[in-house]
Amino acid sequence: MTRSIGRSNVDHRRLARWHLALALVMGLWGGLDALFLRTALVTPTLGRLTAETYNAFFTTHGLTMLFLFALPAIWGVSYVAVPPLIEADDVAAPTLGAVAFWLQVPAALSIRAGTIGGILGVAGLEPVASGWTLYPPLSVLSANPAVDALLAGLALVAVGTTLTAWTLLRTILREREVRWLEVDTFTWTVLTAAAMSLLAFPVLAATVALVLADRTLATGFLLGGGGPQVWQHLFWFFAHPLVYIVVLPPMGIVSHVLPRFAGRKLFGHRSSVYSTLAIGVVSFTVWAHHMFVTGMSLPVRTVFMLTTLAVALPSSAKLCTWLVTLWGGSIRYTAPMVASLAAVGFFVVGGVTGVFLAVVPINVRYTGTYYVVAHFHLLLAGFVALALVAGVYYWFPLLTDRRLEPGLARLHVWLTVVGVAVTFGALLLVGLAQLPRRVATYPAAYAPLHQLATVGAYVIAAAQAVFLANLARSLWLGDPAPNDPWALESGPSHTREWK
């Protein structure tokens, strides 16, 4: 049923493969940026690099990883798994889905225009170096045409993501063949993330339009007295929900994979669904926690601190369902399971560091330091990326009808886990020492910690090489996947997607 051809020649599996292929390519590119950063930080001085180059690398790394790796990867995993999970024939509007995807390709080229121009030696075009947050006045006043290309690319991302979210939402609402009570937790997270995208990405489009207007028409929306703060409010009203759009489906993957290899049913299905919805709503009310040092009044800051702390509650509920599910289970350490378990571990560390960051006085002290870098990478690289890895491994047979070599898959996961732990553990220590982030130089005493972080980053890179080798091997050898690839037929948790 799921493997039959849909109404158009674009089916959900093809959409999934496109998105995941784009995510893979852009993830490698963004990872390369990170490797350059980490290599530059091996020594405390700049060496041959300019500070501008360094700034460009962390800017493109952030933009690429969030918009061109995490989002497509999440939509890819959603496309492959959601239709079979809700017993839909296919996605609701495959052509719209395809258009939305193909918008991401010019978007990617446009966002990376600065890098491409720099490599090809196009005069005047150089990588954007203003940070992924594009704070004015820096972003408005920059003479670099790559900034305009970047803004246009972000607008395309906003349009494409909105269309993708719409496609997935309609699929779940219209094509669903199972009752609402039977809808699984992963689909609920995709539904929530899609709904959030419909609200958040138009805001991104509007904010991007403001900067573009300021740059080309000299409208001055964002340059006056309160202009930069207006931008920050608009940007973070979009960008904090973006974080949860990126975090919720991985939570759903973990909730899906964990019980299957623990020989259990997910404990607290309802609480899991409610916490998903709660996170979806509350995450629109916390954006100003990114602005505790922009001169907001204390009462306002306190309110945002409390709403931010409130997000911790549904998140902890999720953690409880995972831990109780694991309790007493007979665990099979397959690659998706190891990745999920590690993701839960990183979720705890990343979450706890985040709770401290929500507290205004602590935030004021640490917001400009590596502590923040460590916190959000523990969540994004440690939790989101590893959960996505778990999802890709778990559903790979559904995606390609092939199987991956399980030993290499486990090795990839273990290398990634150790690499992430070493890198961001070291950066957490650097952050606790309050070293400022986004600076290419640092006091020489911290060189050993930065070197340790670099070693971890290289291990992460080697891990992805192992993944690529496994992928190539699987596509080359064409090992067909068995019907019930994870031997779940006799297990207690339902296996709708493998029927």
């Binding site: 290599t39 091996v42 020594t43 405390p44 060496g47 041959r48 070599e405 030993g407 290499l408 486990r410 090795l411 273990w414 290398l415 150790v418 070493v422 020489a444 005493a445 911290y446 060189a447 050993p448 910690l449 070197q451 340790l452 670099t454 070693v455 971890g456 290289y458 291990v459 080697a462 891990a463 192992v466 080798a469 496994n470 091997r473």
Partner: protein, 470 residues
Amino acid sequence: MTQHPTDAADRTDPIRIVCLVALATSHGLIRLAERYLPEFVVAIGSGPIVAGALVSLGLGVAVAASRHSSDADAGPTSDLAPAAAAVASVLVAAVGLLAWAGAPTLDALLGTPLSALGWLAVGIVLLQAWHVRGPVRDLWPTDTRAAAPPSSAVPARDEASIRRGAVDGRRTRTVVGALGLAAAAVFAAAAVASAGGVRTGFVLVAATGAAVALVGAIALGSAGERTSILTARVLGEGLEGSNRDGESEARRNETTTAAPADAESPLGAVSSAASRLPDRRRWAVIGDALVRVALAGSWPFLILLVVEYRSIGLSIGGLSLAPAAVFGLFVLAEAAGAVVGAVAAPALASRLDRRAVLAVGLAVVSLLPMGLVAAPSNAGIVAVLFALLGCRTAIEPLRPTVGESARVAPVPGPRLPDAVGTAVQVAVVPAPLIGGLLYAVDPIFAFTIATTVGLLGVRELGRAFAFGRP
């Protein structure tokens, strides 16, 4: 995972391939870091004496540790967890490389009073875990180091297959080791060139080595208990292999027949073991040992010679490489020479007079330090000299101090007693320190002495071969 895969499936086991690639690469990077260490020592403000002392410290720790662990090998518990020991040694080596990378500022971070040189010493001690207990400790080059105990975790086979396996295994270990060294040499040259100096370049090599070693440790660990056997087989080591093929067999014989030696002092044991050797055998061993001392006393300072003293740079087209980067290319030439030597070794040994091959080979190795001093300042010529140095792998199986089986050795005789082997290793230990002292006096002086000592060794060897006498 409990099933036992066939040998064919074994060879293509992707995990094992990852293990091998990671370990061979870290082998190369560790060796390159060691080669660059003296230059780094100079870059942070010390001199050749300190560099030589550090290298000697490493050799001394390795000898002590290998004696200790070979004693432990005799016990029944030693093979309890060879995989765990392999993983641990790789992890310790990774920490050692991190200590090297961070040496200049670890004191400032941790509040320790060790100084940069102290941390370099810590790193060198930790790295001996790699050389003494590491899973790829038998990869070429082994002759620049004190000897490590042979791995004994492999069941013995019949003698013919041991010998065949030993020859194949040696060649494989040389080629794999040289490939790892070559890859690392290219990386080091690029790192030093792009970082614009040896300080950052050395840190990059060490940090990358630590990362690759960590990858190797995880891959070893994820392959579980199969690995020690798996890597051993790919490296042709499964058949009593080490660079002293069959030495453990000798040790076994010795422990059963030469037990009374225990009563003597170590020095007495050496002299009585040596006096029991036939004269020719003793001269051959002394001669070869002298060449080893000469090489150990000069090779740490090759980098200082070509980078600091002679400043041999290279410019091709618009690209000009600093001497410190060019040194990486010289090591690449040496690795290429090693492959050529290893491939040519069986042909040389079977077609020509082994004694002549050995004597000429050792003479060439001994003359190379002088050659490097006297050669014109041309990177191409120096690279050829380095390649010749690498070609010493051709004579490696014939060398009297490696305890080769009687049929292959040019000087027939019983297996080299353990005490004599240890004495040779101990004699090599102070060579780098003395070399550093001499180099500090005058580089030409140091390299002349090295060549002289080497040639004295060749003369002893000639005595053993009794050239010109009936």
